[in-house]
Symmetry: C2
Subunit: 302 residues, 2 copies
């Protein structure tokens, strides 16, 4: 396999995308322990919480506490999802250094998930991103349902590039092109990347896969072959999406690290250490995790 | 993704590679129902049993009964694994039309699994294959641990090509290059295929993946990109290997069909019908199956 990126940046989203989908509230102390275990594994960017309404997602009601209490940094960048002006005020008061905003390529998904049209969401995020940037907070932008929408089916390449470009124009430094329900296959990734790379540089694109149908790693390789070098993942394969019927967990960080390191692509992340971090959250949740490495590791410990 | 094969032949190995690893004996009647459900899904080749010693693998002690009783064919080719002369005699008496022989690229794995050196296994299979061919029985050859051996680690490309060539020289019509413990990553597949294709035509190579670490579909795509068009799979992801520490189930047939059909590569296999076949065997076993499509399908039925 020629011309793959020599190294990959992994954006860990377990504490946010993972824990927001759990039925139970993980105590702040356990969250902090989980985040610290992730950081010490070598991960350089972790999305640790979300400033959504605590009524909508009570699992992350302690967002401000979490942000205030993560002190160890050691080269790691912590970020938080921010959905609106109110969230931004709370996030800024807590002292975030990086944030993420979230829209969709699918109109129906946007309406059901964030209760705005795509255009409304972009209009909402524009001032938010400006305010954040003015305060020295960097911003990434999620484009969810970039491949398949659970309501609309296949999404047009043009829709994804328009939304992505609009987000980049407002100042996000990268767009996370997301396969929210995990239905994408490698040829979808190739087609969409070919289209996006016409106008967007590869270093502005991250790929965010869920592993519903076992295609996530195959999709990562398709992304690598298109020179994409940033991938989101979630320790142990935590995750899913309560608003997306059929969505399973995110691609597991350990599974991604295994694939990449075995392919000679450096991640800076220690596989065993991520497994230990997953164990921290698995114990807090009292349940098994879906990641393959995690399952095998636990099986070998039985 | 340019130049992928327009269609793929799937060799279903669930009734053999899957059921041989179960702790319980599935009644002959249930096996026949499972095989018929697989056949009616459009699968054109199914490895349905093994003529190993019933003492070693009691789960398949009814091999002769299974062969004798599968009557519906409708374009489907049934095969059986045959490990030795005694097995061949039983298989021929039962009336097989196709068989598989099995060796390894790793010396240690061969010694532990089939209690022969690789050279001894080839010397054993030579006369067996000749006898089968003389009787009008076609033969495929498995080369297990072609990527990573649980005892020796990485296997050299040269070892795999020598064993593969020896099998082809004795008259097998295809070699199933097998990742017995599911440790391969796509770059391994590319390297090995580049090496093998120097001397062996693509149509003589099948790829047989286990999905231990979630890399199986990524490996399939790497194989497709090297023009390989035959892949083994197992309904619901049945399988594993009792002699290979850490080996999980085979790549699930449904997961493979989903990936290929979504990529525009025809398989002739109906996804829903394979799911129904998996359900037949899941009910017989009284347990859940690991395949992703199967899990999602069941989840949606709860």
């Amino acid at each position: 396999m020629a011309d793959l990126p020599p190294s990959v940046r992994i954006v860990e989203v377990g504490p946010r995308d993972g824990l927001q989908n759990e039925t139970q509230f993980v105590p702040t102390e356990a969250k902090l322990k989980f985040i610290e275990a992730l950081r010490s594994s070598g991960l350089s960017e972790i999305e640790i919480t979300s400033f959504v309404s605590p009524k909508a997602i009570p699992q992350l009601a302690d967002a401000a506490e979490v942000i205030k209490q993560v002190t160890a940094r050691g080269g790691c960048r912590y970020s938080a999802l921010v959905p609106n002006e109110r969230g931004l005020d709370r996030a800024m008061a807590a002292g975030i250094e990086r944030m993420a905003v979230f829209t969709a390529a699918s109109e129906t998904f946007a309406r059901k998930n964030i209760r705005m049209t795509v255009a409304e969401s972009l209009a909402t995020f524009g001032p938010l991103v400006r305010k954040a940037l003015d305060a020295g907070i960097s911003v990434r932008g999620y484009v969810s349902t970039s491949f398949v929408c659970p309501y609309e089916g296949a999404i047009s390449l043009q829709q994804v590039s328009e939304v992505s470009q609009a987000m980049l124009d407002m100042g996000v430094d990268e767009v996370a092109i997301s396969d929210t329900i995990g239905a994408a296959v490698p040829s979808d990734v190739t087609s969409l990347m070919e289209h996006l790379l016409d106008t967007i540089p590869a270093e502005r694109i991250a790929l965010h896969f869920h592993d519903t149908y076992g295609t996530a790693l195959a999709n990562v390789v398709a992304g690598l072959q298109m020179e994409i070098a940033t991938f989101d993942a979630s320790a142990g394969g935590l995750g899913g999406c309560p608003f997306a019927p059929g969505a399973a967990g995110n691609l597991a960080t350990e599974d991604l690290v295994y694939l990449l390191e075995r392919m000679g692509i450096s991640t800076g992340v220690g596989l065993q250490k991520v497994l230990h971090a997953s164990d921290v959250v698995a114990k807090a949740l009292g349940r098994e995790l879906p990641g393959r490495q995690w399952k095998r590791w636990h099986c070998s410990q039985c």
